[in-house]
Amino acid sequence: MKITDRTYNKAEVVVFRSTKAKFGGLSNMAGGYSLRVNDIIIPSAEALYQACRYPLFPSYQQEIIEQNSPMTAKMISRKYLKYTRQDWEVVKYSIMYWVLKVKLSQNFNEFSKVIEATQSKPIVELSNKDKDWAAIEIDKNTLVGKNALGRLLMQLREEYVFNNNSIECVQPLDIFGFLLYGSQIETVCNPAFEFEKDLLFDLDFA
């Protein structure tokens, strides 16, 4: 997937950067949006995304996932960049969208609220230097960059949040070697669905 730079008028967009600010929940670094894939609890969207870089190296994935801090998870991932899957540049946007769908599915109430609060405005992640995932400020009023994360969040908003379409289950991506801890990533369902269907345990006999 190839995407090109876009230019945004800062006054007309929702900008997010710090996880502590109003729209911080949009960031993959935000805490409180844990995920669970293949029965593995993953503390943040960032950790899951970074783990997907290294499908053939489960020990690196585990090291990334075991970090409570998303920033630390990203830093650990940087140690292993040379082991990144070879088609990463081709698949990374699809993988990120899958991660965001899992984040929304498993944290629908909180995450959809943050996304909904952006109304219909463009969503832009602000960065000092990342023109790929985010946009950078080139003057007081203008942001330029591919803003890939912001654009995927807008797509998510369009497909699921505006329609109040909570995602019951997210299918795995149809790409080669979509692995977590050495096993194919399976369909991931939202906790409400799991709890309602007693997929984890029976409470009437507990």
Binding site: G32, R36, N38, Q62, E186, F195, L199, F201
Partner: protein
């Protein structure tokens, strides 16, 4: 065989078959009678049982030792100078029905505290406490612990805020103490508490355990590092066994019914990989045979040959191989506890009131 049975008897002799309408006592002869139901495999079953039983049977004396150590750990962890100070500040949950294990564990704790530390925890039982400990014997699917902890976390002991808030902001503490938990069930409990209350629950929930049944095998990497110290059969099974699984009314087939045949990587629980396979087959086939005797239109969907499990899980059962003196868990393979009139099966362990 008698020698092996006698050794097994020495381990399980304090198992509580002490209720009025019991059908048998735990004796060497009873153990032999149980084994003989496996026909030519009788001696093999006893040998294998003796191999792992010392590690997984908690006698009442052992339970007392473990609980004494746990109380001292709790005192040290919280930094109280004396046990009395710890007890004044710590609440022991008494949430389960009287016939469940929690009540009996609390009796032992009461005894330890009174006889060894001269403390009666009931003296201050109604006073507000900072720390809260949930004792239980075995966490298998995680349902019981989840339900009890969630009920308390939702409650408002101070009349204003949910207890979960105090646990998250760490003005109160919450701990769970178990003789044994199953890694898969524990993870399920954690996940549901996280999603219902706050992700931080995972971090602030204090856990004390003496043994882990490592049965979390969804992913290869994790599975390769699990002991699989339970009954978890391989896929190569008789047609009747595979037919049984195919016929189960259970919608969740994402829980693996079989372990990969190359796991565990190193056999540390059974006497050998071959003997593991053999015993698993024996328990599985006999369990199916017993279940086939059930004549009811609506059989309990949790009842599986290798022990009760979650209704929705398309598996042969939990396969627990961990036993305590007080009452066998229904998540253990049926051969250990199945006792139904007319089914012509003598269980190894008598089953106390399950509250049915």
């Amino acid at each position: 065989m008698e020698r092996i049975a006698a050794q097994i008897f020495e381990i399980i002799k304090d198992y509580q078959c002490d209720y009025a309408d019991r059908k048998f006592e735990i004796t060497v002869n009873h153990i032999i009678s149980w084994a003989n139901q496996f026909g030519d495999d009788a001696a093999f079953v006893l040998n294998e049982l003796l191999h792992f039983l010392p590690e997984v049977y908690i006698s009442k004396n052992k339970a007392k030792d473990l609980l004494r150590v746990r109380l001292l750990e709790i005192q040290k962890f919280y930094g109280y100078k004396t046990m009395s100070e710890m007890v004044v500040n710590t609440h022991f949950f008494d949430l389960q029905k009287s016939y469940k294990s929690q009540s009996e564990i609390l009796l032992i704790i009461d005894d330890i505290l009174k006889s060894e530390f001269m403390v009666n925890y009931k003296d201050t039982i109604d006073k507000p406490k900072k720390n809260h400990i949930y004792f239980d014997d075995i966490l298998a699917t995680g349902g019981t612990a989840y339900r009890d902890l969630a009920t308390w976390l939702e409650a408002r002991d101070d009349g204003v805020n949910a207890n979960s808030k105090a646990i998250i902001n760490q003005t109160k503490t919450l701990g769970i103490s178990l003789f044994c938990y199953h890694s898969f069930g524990f993870s399920n409990m954690q996940w549901r508490l996280m999603k219902q209350f706050d992700d931080k629950i995972k971090k602030v929930l204090l856990v004390g355990k003496d043994y882990v049944v490592e049965n979390h095998i969804k992913t290869k990497w994790i599975a390769e590092n699990q002991k699989l110290n339970c009954v978890y059969p391989v896929e190569e099974q008789a047609k009747e066994v595979l037919d049984y699984l195919a016929g189960l009314e259970a919608e969740n087939d994402s829980v693996p019914a079989f372990r990969p045949s190359n796991l565990p990587k190193k056999e540390t629980f059974f006497s050998s990989p071959e003997n593991r396979i053999k015993l698993e087959k024996i328990f599985l086939e006999k369990g199916i045979e017993l279940l086939n005797k059930v004549q009811t239109e609506n059989p309990d969907r949790r009842k599986r040959p290798l022990g009760d499990t979650v209704r929705s899980h398309k598996t042969f059962g939990t396969g627990t191989l961990f036993f305590t003196w007080r009452n066998i868990s229904n998540t253990c393979p049926l051969v250990f506890w199945w006792d139904v009139p007319g089914h012509n099966w003598l269980p190894l362990f008598c089953v106390k009131n399950r509250g049915i």
